[in-house]
Amino acid sequence: MTKMILDRRRFLARTGQAMLVFGASGTVMFTDAERSWAMALDRLDAPTAETLLRMCRALYPHDALGDMYYAVVVEALDSEAAGDPATATLISEGVGRLDAALGVPFAALSPGSQTEVLTLMQADPFFQKVRGAVVFHFYNNPLVWRHFGYEGASFEQGGYVWRGFQDAGWLIEPDAEASPPVAYGEGAQP
């Protein structure tokens, strides 16, 4: 049971200095302009969630995408941990190793050092668990697809037959034998 889900728009309306607030139990709130959202957590504590968030970013860094997109992964791991004590242990112990690697909390390490720590941990089941979770949850988010220029489901829009499936105008047009015109509808030849 999620303890608290914050209305992201409520924070979007706010400005002010960057501030990480450990608010209501189980909720991590980021209240600066770029972090106007919250992670809703059932099982993981806030420092663990924050470290996981840094780890997700370091694994699959897309500078143009904000932390909220990576938080989706942390929330998914949290849900799994809530239902499975073994996963909860795997995560808490794994985060412990991340923080212990250089003696400085992982979240405080430079990007270069974070990569170094992760490289040393590649065979760790915890590493593989989080890496797999990012691949599945981060790249499966329709909001993230926009960044990559992927449009997702097309059936509801009638597909791409009249919406740009041949619009790469920088290429030479293939001859009609290689690539015949659309054989029906408004594009059909008389």
Binding site: F148, G159, F165, Y184
Partner: protein, 522 residues
């Protein structure tokens, strides 16, 4: 829908409803032969298909436990998922991309054409292109294959335009939008392709041929076919004379049922079909049914594959439109001077962002990976489909200890690349790169094989009973009323996508079964 009694031993039981089983069921039913069609998966529909890669994967894919071994890259990247095929009514015809190519004359004579190749268990097929041509013709008409029977080719999307630009600059001559079982115009009560870009997820236009909404309803309409979905066949039974008498299956509630049969046709794909024959071992057939040759499960082939993706300075949006939007066929001939036997096709391929993240470089992470992903909108892609060498040691076997939800040993899929496969893949990677370099690519990425969609050879056809499992009609050498009706009967893999040949063989097999039944031979 007509229903048949479990004790009705006049019916032909067909196991599996994909390209082979779904087609065979319809062809038999059209002749008035009563068929019980058993499908392990659930029934979906054009309406229930989803334009969402992971959700569709969960809806359609065969996800029962399997194991892998061998040096192939799939065993490392996807250890529990050797194949990407389907457990659903219509089988993998819901998921296939639609490429419909005839196997070439010389490929039916692989052993004769290629000669002896060390480590390869090559054989000639027990039938020729001429034998199969009338059935290819019927299959192409049934499926509505473009560029046959007066059906126009499909229009090429951006991904094809990139391929065509590079290929023609490179001097390739045979470059076009392919022969596809996807309607370029409305035909046979099915819609035309609207270029959705979700061929792999079940075609929501119904433009792509699938037994789900063609063969199977047509079979049921005859009044001679009963479809039972969520019917997972556990064992084939036989009598004291060695003739098969019926099958035991687990129904949707997990209860075991016994369906009697006059004949049994196994069409569960190259993993499940040999597994079922092996799991049906008895005191009379201790090595499994139809396995006096010891060839059941052996000679597993999966095509020599790999992908090349390339990034350009301008947008491509490769995901818009048909997945296999075009083909280069210039490398498909056998030209041993290239350093390998056999040939390969290059076909466009695209993945959405969710699957691109999983398949572009499995296991990779860090900035070098995300930089590639950031190029997604400007990427084009192609897939290599080449003939791989059959090897006796590449095999589907029963796992010694691991059991599935029904308590049966799970299949292990063992595969090692033959040196010929490696030589071909390297050549194809080089040519794929050259195509995209010629089209002006800024970056080019070689991508390792995905879990196998083309699974072949594990119950192969052979002239001599000692060399294989079934004869030229898919009838087992050992048991007259036991047939195999899927891609596992392929003697060799050839360079072409296999579905059209599976369908042609099923049509031919139906004629043979009807003839044998008419003569009282089975």
């Amino acid at each position: 829908m007509t229903t048949y009694d479990l004790s009705d031993d006049s019916v032909v039981v067909v196991i599996g409803s994909g390209a082979g089983g779904g087609t065979l069921a319809n062809e038999l039913a059209q002749k008035g032969i009563d068929v019980v069609l058993l499908e392990a998966g659930k029934e979906q529909s054009i309406e229930s298909f989803v334009n969402d890669e992971w959700a569709s994967f969960a809806q359609l894919a065969w996800l029962d436990p399997r194991t892998t071994s061998g040096t192939w890259r799939v065993a490392r990247d996807f250890a529990g998922l050797p194949t990407w095929i389907c457990k659903t009514v219509g089988g993998t015809t819901t998921h296939w991309a639609g490429a419909s190519l005839r196997i070439r004359e010389h490929e039916f004579k692989a052993r004769t054409t290629y000669g002896e190749i060390a480590g390869a268990s090559l054989l000639d097929w027990p039938l020729s292109l001429a034998d199969l041509e009338p059935y290819y013709d019927k299959a192409e008409d049934k499926m509505g294959v473009t560029r046959t029977h007066g059906i126009p080719g499909l229009p090429g999307n951006n991904n094809f335009k990139v391929m065509w630009n590079g290929a023609t600059r490179l001097g390739y001559q045979k470059v076009h939008t392919g022969r596809m079982a996807i309607n370029s115009e409305p035909r046979h009560d099915r819609n035309a392709c609207h270029q959705l870009g979700f061929c792999f997820q079940g075609c929501k236009m119904g433009a792509k041929w699938s037994t789900l909404y063609t063969e199977i309803p047509a079979a049921i309409d005859t009044g001679h076919c009963e479809l039972r979905s969520q019917a997972f066949v556990l064992q084939i039974e036989h009598d004291a004379s060695g003739k098969v008498t019926g099958v035991i299956y687990a129904d949707a509630d997990g209860n075991q049922q016994r369906q009697a049969a006059r004949a049994v046709c196994v069409a569960g794909n190259s993993i499940e079909s040999p597994r079922l024959l092996l799991n049906s071992a008895s005191s009379m057939f201790p090595d499994g049914l139809a396995n006096s040759s010891g060839e059941v499960g052996r000679n597993y082939m999966r095509h020599t594959t790999g992908s090349v993706y390339a990034a350009f300075g301008q947008p491509v949006h490769m995901y818009r439109g048909t997945i296999m939007a075009g083909i280069i066929q210039d490398e498909a001939e056998n030209r041993p001077e290239r350093g390998f036997a056999g040939g390969y096709e290059l076909e466009t391929l695209s993945l959405g962002v969710p699957f691109m993240a999983a398949f572009l470089d499995p296991g990779a992470w860090g900035a070098s990976f995300t930089r590639k992903m950031d190029q997604y909108a400007n990427m084009a892609g192609l897939w290599i489909v080449g003939e791989d060498m059959p090897q006796s040691s590449n095999a589907v076997t029963l796992h010694a200890t691991m059991k599935d939800q029904h308590g049966l040993p799970v299949p292990n899929v063992h595969f090692d690349d033959h040196v010929n496969d490696i030589a071909m893949r390297e050549h194809a990677f080089r040519q794929g790169r050259a195509v995209y370099e010629a089209a002006g690519a800024t970056d080019i990425y070689e991508v390792p094989p995905y879990p196998s969609t083309h699974n072949l050879g594990t119950n192969r056809m052979s002239e001599k009973p000692a060399d294989g499992v079934v004869n030229a009609f898919g009838q087992s050498h050992d048991i007259d009323n036991l047939f195999v009706s899927d891609g596992s009967v392929f003697t060799t893999g050839a360079a072409e996508n296999p579905t059209l040949t599976i369908v042609a063989l099923a049509i031919r097999q139906a004629d043979y079964i009807a003839e044998q039944m008419g003569q009282g031979a089975i």
